[in-house]
Subunit: 284 residues, 4 copies
């Protein structure tokens, strides 16, 4: 079966290569078409436009950088909408619930099926097929896409109505942003108290709080290395959206609010393009 | 070899039983002596006073409720100091660095050896021998005690000078207190946004943040059950001590400070004796 | 000279009566027209629609409850736009910069002049002509309106381009919201330390921090009385908008963020319609 | 009548000169005796030791830098205690309740009377006799000192038991520290939104929030000038003590906690000796 794939950034490239390596036939498209060349080497076919990809495939996956790119691929000339009648469209980008619902409504009005499916995990998880997929929308399309999801991720969730996936993803990232600040403060406390912060990593790693985030970020933070796995400015944006969701639903979130301000502070001192673990530098 | 054990509270009882089951000969003492009866059934001998226990054993472990109890057992009449010459004393209670140093100085002045060895982990870890032991002080005594530590914990650390273990423990608990607040806010956000908070537990458990704390506390929090594994008022006290340590060393800790105020708020509304996960109730 | 006045809520009513008492001829309109009766007793004329008021007057002032009401009065059928050619329109409502700019653009496109002029101060200031007016937009219209502003307020500012008045107002309210939280915490601290909180009011009132906000709100807070001068839910909304403005401009605002969460907490426990000083109840 | 005065720092010097100018006979002492010379020019007599001053005067005022200096002057050799029998001692230093009670107990045990009388206000208030005096302890001594207090301050309060004055002072400073952060965030928000922060000062000064703190600090903050009226490190210490008092009494103080961390951050970047308004630099 032919799958369409729109968007070959860091995440999209890794995901579409995974699909190809697992025997899927994939037709790819990227705004800068030359980025498709590497995929062709892995066996992909290239579509000239989003509409062309959609027309050719049973369903099409999109992995785009932000809400504006997600909207553009759907609504612009030669966009997804033009050929979506009778097809499926799966947006795995991280976008807010409102944007996701807007895309869903337009696609349904044209006779297509829509699934939102944001992921938890970064570049290395994408490469290793270890993403967590948080889907919502058209249930039958979800089931149709499960073979692909099984290749892309280690676990898929189906939540219900479009928008619920986006909300769940924001909650996950809010927890992650606050945890990173908690971790940063602990590391600085140990360091400034004259102890070895590497020992804190070890102690944490042997206790109930042991987790992959601390394990992967701790050693690089100690080396003052902030190569972006997940850029700080995106983390800040997600925390802002999570706080806005909290505001809508009258949920007090004081710790997330303060964590957000730490990311804000980091951004205002030029750290926005580094990894989000660079928030520790606000504690200097 | 005979080991002394002072203090048979929730933690001390589980730890001394573990030692007995692994073939150690243990002489126990507790302020309320009747609490020793159950230990006798497991094979323990009873000492009449801390001094009597210390006199009889090569080294003695203490697991007491707070700094004041830790001081009392050492300095009072019939206390540890009276027989410590030539012996070892290991305090595994959670106490601040100043108290630990005060005890250490007195014991060394009387010709004894001292090791502080606070633990990370609660009642179930104590029962299962899965504590993490954070030791500092007399290195030879640490090595002598390793066979016992191997029974009590899954991992032991030796950090250096007396006081360092206490500081490391505070940093660990500061991270834990902030993480619990981050987790609580995420759960409330999901719930009030009309999603299933159980799904957040699932999603978190499959991603990089998966950890034993969320796994053990999440399900009970969803049931609104706060049976104290680690009482909230103790968590708040530890966060306060961690913030004080930060203050001494000029470490800004805004997230921990806000988390501490949430525990403070919880305490002021009568939740101090519940499990520290009851902090989620401040988000009602 | 004839002045138009749209919106006779708590603020608008007090302001238009003030204008009438100072000899201005005022034509009023309110969505619920019966509310105009009291104004007629004070000498006002009634206009049937916003368009009718604008047509009759040299310039028209609006004082509406929120952005949506502000937009409706301008853009709806029989709205301001229909007759604005050659006239002036002054919106004194509290609205965000984006909404203000949208109204401004439409009015200018139709040949009218626009001034935004949000105010600092509540009901009693409106009644006493003691508002602070923060204007921006069409300079000549500002000067034309100065005689009216001199009646309505004790001080007027002209800031420049449309949107700047709205932004300045948000900054003022962010300071106010944080100050109210600081004040609340001080009162609770004194009270729970066994001292008389009334003495704190006295001490503050004799020092450098003495200000009208503490003087007017302190005594009612001590009586647990929260009759809404400025509803808490509006304060929370303004803090959220101020934080969003900070986010746009990369300004870390940790104290305002935490103060906002306290208002959020108050709202979530049903205090939204009380005065914003009711935020002290989150410290119970 | 002869008054003793111990401590001729910035505050003590201004206060004792005031007393001399208003006709009081004053015997002064300072640890560095040469600092007494200027006071002699104003008509003071010099005492060789605290004990010598106390012996000569009906009552003695102390204005010392911190708890340790306050204790030393009383308990050291040739200290206050040696001659306090039948005399009065008034400590106007800013010290915590525990220290104040310790001094009080010792003085009463020796047959002396004690009054704590911390002040609100800085150097300029001291020079102008505009301090606010927050007294507690021996009521008759308070009344005896009122003529002097009337010269030193514009208003005196008598609160009750020793310790209550210290606590009230901490609450006042907690409000002040949070207000300064609220003010700083407002100024930065306005500035980064492209508006003139001087206009915010003007707007605030015409509204309900107008106060002497903003009026005196605003203009110097805009000039980036932080000549210490009240050093930041002392402000941070007072906030910490206020939070500790809140902790004792289970008062949640999230805004003060975050404000304290901002001062902490400022201290950790070397701003501790500047005026406390330099906390705005943490928002860069």
């Amino acid at each position: 079966m032919e799958i369409g794939f729109l968007g070959l950034g860091i995440m999209g490239k890794a995901m579409s290569i995974n699909l190809l390596h697992h025997g899927f036939k994939v037709t790819v498209w990227n705004r800068t078409l030359s980025k498709c060349d590497e995929l062709v080497e892995h066996g992909a076919t290239v579509g000239e436009t989003p509409a062309a990809v959609v027309k050719k495939c049973k369903y099409t996956i999109a992995m785009l950088s932000d809400p504006s790119a997600a909207l553009s691929v759907v609504f612009d000339k030669d966009g997804v909408l033009e050929q979506i009648n009778g097809k499926g469209y799966i947006d795995m980008s991280t976008i807010d619930a409102q944007t996701s619902i807007k895309i869903s409504d337009a696609i349904k009005a044209k006779g297509g099926d829509f699934l939102e499916a944001p992921v938890s995990g970064g570049k290395t998880h994408a490469e290793d097929g270890q993403l967590v997929i948080i889907a919502a929308g058209h249930k039958a399309l979800y089931e149709e896409a499960l073979p692909a999801f099984d290749v892309l991720g280690k676990k898929s969730f189906f939540l219900g109505a479009v928008g619920d996936g986006a909300k769940m993803k924001l909650a996950v990232n809010a927890v992650m942003g606050s945890m990173m600040n908690a971790f940063s403060e602990g590391l600085r406390l140990v360091e400034r108290s004259g102890l070895n912060p590497g020992t804190l990593l070890d102690v944490l790693d042997h206790g109930a709080m042991s987790n992959g985030l601390f394990k992967s970020k701790g050693p690089t933070m100690l080396k003052n290395s902030y190569n972006p796995g997940f850029p700080l400015k995106h983390m800040q944006k997600d925390m802002r959206l999570a706080l806005a969701l909290g505001d809508e639903n009258a949920v007090p979130m004081p710790v997330a609010a303060v964590a957000n301000e730490a990311f804000e502070k980091a951004k205002s001192t030029g750290l926005g393009d580094l990894d989000f673990s660079a928030v520790i530098k606000t504690l200097n």
